[in-house]
């Protein structure tokens, strides 16, 4: 049993580890995008006309929101990462098949980690979905701008740049939604395990109190 469970445990641990790592990188990317939007808005600020000022202020606010979201993203990903890093290192350094007690200990650690971080993981899934949708919307906007520029035959270079921006934004958007789905799946699987462990407690209780 240990071998099968151990291998399955290892595969899941690696998958989750990669998900959290990629999510960490995505958080940094969101923060960088936020900074870029804000800095560009400040550099291009002309201060002429009410609409221009409003547009600049809106971009600064969006940029600031992106920076805040990125910081939150990195902070929460780092917290989740910290909780699984030690287990992964121990697992990688363990012999094959995994020793029985070590495997049970890691499962206990991950269950405790999930209980503690369940809310954060659900938040990551929600923020990821919203963030992904925003990036996709940016991508669609860039796509429309590109098509308009090329069709008008006025700014070919601008049109191609818009297509490039659309490709970048849409890739990040799809990636973000995919990661959010990963967190949701992880939460669903571990919710079931928590439930199953809770049901098993009855037999543990009986065993402990039978004397």
């Amino acid at each position: 049993m240990t071998d099968t469970s151990g291998r399955r445990f290892g595969k899941e641990l690696t998958s989750f580890f990669v998900l959290v790592l990629l999510n960490l990188a995505l958080g940094a990317l969101v923060m960088a995008f936020g900074m870029q939007i804000m800095v560009t808005a400040i550099i291009e600020y002309s201060g002429e006309g009410y609409l221009s000022v409003l547009f600049s202020v809106t971009r600064v606010v969006i940029g600031a929101a992106g920076i805040c979201a990125g910081i939150f993203w990195i902070k929460t990903s780092a917290k989740i990462f910290k909780g699984i890093k030690n287990v992964r290192e121990e697992y990688r350094n363990s012999p094959d098949p995994v020793p029985d007690r070590a495997l049970t200990g890691w499962i206990v650690t991950l269950l405790a980690h999930y209980r503690e971080n369940r809310t954060v993981i659900m938040q990551m899934a929600l923020i990821g979905t919203i963030g992904g949708a925003i990036f996709l919307a940016f991508g669609v906007t860039n796509l429309v701008q590109g098509v308009q520029a090329v069709a008008a035959d006025t700014g070919q270079v601008y049109g191609y740049l818009a297509f490039f921006a659309a490709a970048v934004n849409m890739t990040i958007g799809i990636g973000t939604i995919y990661f959010a789905r990963g967190f949701r799946t992880y939460a669903r699987v571990w919710d079931m395990r928590l439930d199953q462990a809770g049901k098993g407690e009855e037999s543990l209780k009986q065993a402990l109190e039978s004397r």
């Binding site: 989750f16 499962i107 079931m192």
Partner: protein, 91 residues
Amino acid sequence: MPERRTSYEIYWEILVYCKSPKTFTSLIGRCDLNSKTGQEHLRFLVDRGYLAIEKDGERTRYVATERAAEYISLFSRLYQGLFDSGPGFRL
């Protein structure tokens, strides 16, 4: 904030750690317990014969009894079973 570990998980950790005799201080340090809850859990396990007390001069040490093996085995079977059935997570 929800409890990180259930009592059953803490019992398992204590019993596994006490395979060889351990002092109270090392036990609560290793199992990440405060003094009060550590005392409660130890009393529970000693009362039910899962832990025995060894006196070594001034020092009191705790060691798991043969009965603890039954609980450890049942616990491991249950928890490893979580990875034997049901859908797993894959990226």
